[in-house]
Amino acid sequence: MPQAGFVLQWVGKAVAVVLAITILNFFLIRLAPGDPAIVMAGEAGAADQQFLDRVREEFGLNQPLMVQLWTYLKNVLTLDLGVSYRTQRPVTEMIFERLPATLLLTGTAYVMALVVGPLLGALAAMRQRSVFDSLLMVAALVFYATPIFWVGLLLILVFSVQLGWLPPFGMHSMIPVKGAMAQMLDTLKHLVLPSTTLALFYIAVYVRLTRASMLETSSLDYVKTARAKGLPEWRVATAHILRTALIPIITFAGLQAGHLVGGAIVVETVFAWPGIGRLAFDALFQRDYNLLLGVFLVSALMVVFFNMVTDLALRIADPRIAGRN
């Protein structure tokens, strides 16, 4: 069972990586000047030394750093990510409250990008230098180069303000709808603009990646052989070219999957999407150490997990990779 050995080895590595990331994050965020007590004092609009002392004592911020780290790691092992300084709620609860929204948004965009991007890229490669190819390449360049927030605002202007077809922000309607089906449709309607905004960028990347990879592969000798054997062109393209050309796409898709958790801060902001990216963003400015570390930990776990899945997928797509190891 070479795959099982691979997985075991990977889990060992993953634990070490996640531990290292956690420790590194712990120190990194404490390098920034100021602490949660200062931010909370600022928000209170008035504060005295007692207030600062109380906050620091309550959250153990007056303890030596190494003691704080040890306490944190011990708690993480028991799946206790601590309490948010600012809201005084359990971090795990806050993260899991927001995670589904982000996964829905990034997951939808991801699937859209993975389906549409490689498909268009392959078509463009098969019709190299056609009008379709040129138009698609220009469009891909535009969406790749345009800042995501601007695309988002433009889509809102056109589809919400001008045409009034889709809601401009939020995940649910202002006035809650009744019934499970109606609620699902309502969320879907809200999902269209943000997920399209996010997907457009990734579609652009996949289109260019697939096209380039297919063109490169199609000039290889084994493809020439396949053509020389007299195989029909669609068979050459799907069975011979695409499989090899998939390698960089799988690699990129794997990397992108790892960022499903934190990769949508901008879109979440423009569309007021109640996701985890914004939670992390706010936590950073409020020096909400526990919440920030919690989000980082979940994010690190996702990245490590999807890297493993990517490696597995690559070994299946190209058995030579497994051989090399």
């Binding site: 004092a41 209170a44 005295d48 600062l52 709620r89 809102i156 303000v161 809601p167 939020g170």
Partner: protein
Amino acid sequence: MHGLQSMGLVGRLMAAVFAIVLLGAGMAAAQPKQGGTLNSTLWPEPPGIVIGIHLNAPTLLPSTKMFEGLLTYDFDLNPQPVLAESWEVSADGLTYTFKLRQNVKWHDGKPFTAQDVVYSLTKFIPEVHPRSAPTFKRAEVTAPDDYTVVLTLKEPYGPMLRSFDAISAPIVPRHVYDVATPIRENPANRAPIGTGPFKFGEWRSGEYIHLLRNENYWLYGRPYLDEIYYRFVPDSASRALALETGQVQLATQNDIELVDVARLKAMPHLEVTTKGWEWGAPISWLEMNLRRAPFSDVRFRKAVMHALNREFIRDSIFFGLASVPTGPIHSSSPFYTDDVPTYDYNPDKARALLDEMGLKPDGNGVRATVGLLGLPYGELWDRLSQYIRQALGEVGIGVTIETADVAGWGNRISNWDVDMSTTYLTTLSDPALGVARSYITSNQRKGVLFTNTSGYSDPEVDRLFAEAASAADEGKRRELYAKVQKIVADEVALAWLVELQWPTIHNAKLKNVVRNGLGPNDNFAEAYFEE
């Protein structure tokens, strides 16, 4: 013969009927309508919604609809009844007696009594409310009966009567908070129970806070609105769009970039007001670290005042949504005086003062180089820093702009590790509460933000502030604060830039949004949608 006399009886009757119909129609239009959903923006999402435990602006907007104080304050900061229906202050200023309303119920149905007020003022506020704790620690609070509360002070305290609004002294239910669980960990903090016109409905993290009409509110027939949604919309362009498209009907304070306000104001379905911040009275200033040269020389500070064109700051940076202050006390305060030394925009005067100090320009025209740490609250404040750099550069003061995020900014200012910085602070309903803290020597406390961080110190000013705080007579206090304003303005303790006028932008159909000095932090019992 003209007019009524020329009409026959029928004509006169018809005119009378017509007049009654008209009158009726007029009354119908003026009659507030029951019902409707108010959608308001709220940003950022608050850390909590119990006043006192949290005091930042987004906490106050929803929580002032659920919690009430004994009093509120009109635009001139005169006390108005809320939970107290009447009150009396003894002639010596030592005893405050409040008569409470008897028909008030908490949102969970329990009756509201004097015990709740005693608990709030003696336990809840001293423990969790950093801003009001010092005020109420001065008083002994007793309840001679279920509907009377008496505060007894050891010495008179001027700001006392202006400290009973829902923000300074929220009244919380004793039966909910006086339990074994610490106040900050009480489960009711996520689903508050108050006496206000709106009850807590739901808080969806990242989406909204939903408040519902309190059917048992003590003021019959109020509130008019059925529900309020406070929507968290993180992007300011999206917030402006939501107002434009009618998705939300209310935005306030920093919700809308000032650059957008004029455009929104021109829209027929929107109205803008800058009233309602009299209680908070925010002033923005440039703070100089008086512990360091050249700021320790008053001539340098005067030169800075003459070098800054504050009318330009008001018009071009704050888009007219500000006014130029003359000193430490906001012009909306009853204690304000404009009889103080003033500083016109006059770069030549600034140069002359710098010359007099011996700060001569070098080969590049630079007399001194100083740092400026700008308030990290977004573009507007960055532009302000840029302007200060340019304006001081004109008179030969080189300015290096420094940046930090909120935590870094607070850390450096509170530890006095800065040359100059910009900030704004609410000067609150009374100078003893919100003004003195930035000027008195005893409040120079390293490591603590919003204290006297500039290092200004003048024994006469300390004495005047102390005397004014404990004077019982309002006229006497006015006199003392007038003296303070004169001295502090003459010494340029801080370089006051603008009094902020935050816009409240609302749908024209939404009425009674800003009715008193608490502005959008009023309880909205009277707010309604016109047909």
